[in-house]
Structures are given as C-alpha cells and as structure tokens.
Symmetry: D2
Subunit: 146 residues, 4 copies
C-alpha cells in the first residue's frame, strides 16, 4: 500500500499526541508506516483487572488506536477518522513487561477501512500473542457535507 | 434469572474493587442485580481521543467490566470470570457529563455466558445511546482441572 | 422511527424477491415495518450441519437479510444496501420446526446503519432464542458518486 | 501446530460429508491440514443476493465450516465441535467463478479455539480477498459431563 499524503506520519503523530488517554495509560506510538502502526504499552499495576493482568479493555484501547492510525496513514490530508466498530478476542492472560499492539489495514476504502490488530505480550525477551481483532473505520473527508 | 450464589453482590463488588484500572478511569459500580450491572464513568479530559470525546476503548473498558460482572452475578461462589471476546459498535460521539454502561446476560451457561452491553451518554439530564455490543465470558469453576 | 420513503415495503419486498438464495433456503419475508423485518425459515434436513441442526451459517444468512432489509426500510428510494460486517452468537442448538429471524435498526444513519438481529426457534408452540447478533449496513445513495 | 489425533483428516471429512447444507450450496472440502482447511464454492445464480453477487450469509456459511473444521483437526478423537460466535467483514462484492474459504487456527485450546477465516473470489485466474473474519469454537470432549 502507498499513502496518498506524503506527510502522513506527522499527521498521525500529531493526532496521537492529542489522545490524552494514551498519556493516562502510558502508551506511546512506536512505529508508523503506510497502512500500519505499532503502539507500545508498558505494564503498570494500575491498568489491571481483578487478577492483576492488564484489563482486556486497556488492550483494546491501544489496539483500537493502533488500528485507527493504521487506517489514518492512508487517508487524505484534512480528513478525520473514527472507529465505527471493532471486535477483540483475548487468547491468553495479559501478563508481561510490556505490550505491543500492531495494526495493519486489510482493505482501505474511500469511506470505510478495515484493519486487523494483534497484541503481543513481551516478557523476558519472548513475545506471545494475547489478543487479536478486526475493526471498521470511517473517513470523514475534508470535502464532506457536515 | 436468579443467582445461585446468594452472596453474589458482595462477590462482584469485591472483584470490582480489585480492578485497579477502574480507579484510574474514575469508574464506579453503580448497580448490581442478578444478571445485570451498571458502571458509571464521569467525563474527564484525560479519557479523550483526538477530538476530545471519550476514547472508544475507554467506553469498551467499562462496558466489558459491566458485562463481565453481569455474568459473574450468576456464576457460583469460588469461580472466576474472563472475557473471551467482545464486539462494540460506536453509534455517536461520546460526549456527555457522564456515561452509564449497562450489561445484561442474554444466555447464562455452565461454561460460556453471553451478554449485551449498552453505553448511554448523559448530558443536561438527557440520555443518548452511544455504544452497544455483545460479549462472551468463560467461567473458571472452583472444581475445574487446572 | 419513521420511513422517509412511503413506498418502503414494496421496495423491500421487491429486493427480497431478487435474493435467489432465499428461495433456495425456503425463507420468506413475513413482516416489514419501519426499521424492522422478520424472515421465516421452515426446518429442512438439507439445511443442516453434521448433527442435524440448522447450520449456523444458514441462521446467519436469514438474520443478515432480516437486518439488511430492516435498515433498507429507512433508506431513501433509489438507494442500495450492503452489509459491511456482522457478528452472530449461537446460544443453543438450532432445532425446531421453523425459525424466525427478527432484526431492528438500533441506529439509522445517512451512510451507516446498525441493526440487532435475533433468531428464535419454534417448536411445539414454544419459542427459544438460538442466535443473536449485530450488523453494520452501508447505504449507497442514488446521488452518490460511483 | 500438530494434530493429536493421527486420523484427523478422515474424522473431518466424515463430519463434513454429514453437513447436508454443503451439498445444497455445492461446496466441497478441498484441503485439510493440521489447523487449517479450505472449502471451495463454485458460483451459482441461486446463491445470490439482490444484485446477483453471492449472499454474504453464504460466504459466511462456508467460512464458518472452514473454521469449524480447521479447529476440529486439532481436537481429540470422539470430540464434537460447535461454533459459539463469529464475525465477518465483507470487503468487496462477491463476484467470481468460484470462492475459496480458508481458515486457520490462531489459538487452539482445550475448551475454546479461535480461528481466522478468509474468503477469496477467483475470476479469470485472479484471486481477490472478499471477506474475512474470526470465530470461536467450543470442543465438546468425549469425556465431558452432559
């Protein structure tokens, strides 16, 4: 895939910087390429569910942003992106030192874009798939009627 | 529906109190009944995505916990609950003074339970549906093989 | 909800009549109202999976059409409707004399519409919920660019 | 992945042969390997939705069976398999001479197995991705309590 906006990375990083919840969670945008991004989330005890693992919703939050920005890399300058729906499977307890949420665009589109997301847990140098899902994004184009 | 464990509310509230991410987000468990719970999330600027609305993943986090605990009300004492998957639709921008995530069990089961979740945004005394979804839970029973 | 096209029922029934797979499965469009439809599917042995129950995909096929036409009732004359994604849960074995797939629009929209679908199995005068799901539809408007 | 039952292919093919709906649709089980299967569906006009393309539910039916049998290859002799839920995205109109639904196990488990499914349309020697999704299966083990 190729991005139509040569300045896509700056546009994506600017938008990510405005997602205040990413700061709250301690997540950072590690990689940005055409149709793909990776967000890194270090483990913190205050992200946990009742058993001490990272809450499924927190994994979903970084996976959703990774997907949204993977899609946004391919959208035109001046556009906005919104998630219309996503689904996540949780395959193993989210234990690890940090988590990597990687998303890739499966089908870019003028209006709708579909992404796949995978979340890996990293522990002692090993990586394990702990969650995966799919997502639909809508592009609100700069020329669209309100 | 009827809960088999008469002490279900205390069990659910104890577990919720151990979900440290709920404190991080400022969410509280408002209602607990057999097969249903409601979690309340007041708006905070640090829960936002790039446009200032509450992040879809944050809505999902409270909806997922609401569903998990709705299912957990019907599970036996000594059991544990995990989300195996969920899907959420985002129907309108999550703007409001606070958000109410209500979940209800659609199908309880010995092993798997299916829930529906709805998130309402409350603003100026009015409520609007902003997200809905469905979820699968697995019950890890006290008598289960490891 | 109110349909903007007063002739919505004829438009929906004409489109349903062109879905040749509905004839193959023996499904018929029982009810059409603003934002809702019901499709009826009598049991047939040649609709079964390996255990003799109706295949999950067949239930999904009628649920998907029920949802698509529930959404289509609210779309303008001259538009077309497509499913962009759906998810279905299967709650109990699909045994019964006939099955009723009912869909309702949760959120109509200019571009995207979200529906809920439920499939009931009818046996000996009793009805049981066997499947439920949610769906996203896209409206291709008559005035849209190709 | 490795199958624990050396006779998995015969077991899967026997079960597929009992899915009478596969004969109704004209689908056949092309490939069976440990953790993966492919089902082939030739185009037929009586599988169509209102625009003449194969109905999304028909694509889902073969994708669901492909996933179910991908998971079943890894389950023990004497077990049964059921789909508990799946989600499908429809990326492009299902036009083609035939369709190939390929599923692979992402996470096998004692009780639950998660699969990914992809449906390709084949036309004039070219293949195009038209649908993708994810699925949860449950294994009913021969030693399980009723």
């Amino acid at each position: 895939v190729q991005a139509q906006d040569p300045d896509f990375e700056r546009r994506v990083r600017d938008s990510f910087a405005r997602q205040s919840v990413m700061r709250l969670l301690g997540a950072s945008l590690a990689e940005v390429g055409p149709g793909t991004t990776t967000i890194v989330l270090p483990y913190r005890a205050d992200l946990a569910q009742q058993d001490g693992f990272v809450h499924a919703g927190v994994l979903s939050t970084v996976a959703d942003s990774a997907g949204g920005y993977a899609g946004y890399t391919l959208m035109p300058a001046g556009s906005r992106v919104l998630t219309t729906e996503y689904k996540m499977h949780f395959l193993a307890p989210a234990k690890g030192e940090r988590f990597l949420a990687t998303a890739t665009v499966v089908k870019p589109g003028r209006t709708l874009t579909v992404c796949e997301m995978r979340v890996l847990a990293e522990q002692g140098g090993e990586r394990k798939l702990v969650a995966l899902g799919t997502q639909t994004l809508i592009c609100l184009r700069p020329d669209a009627a309100p």
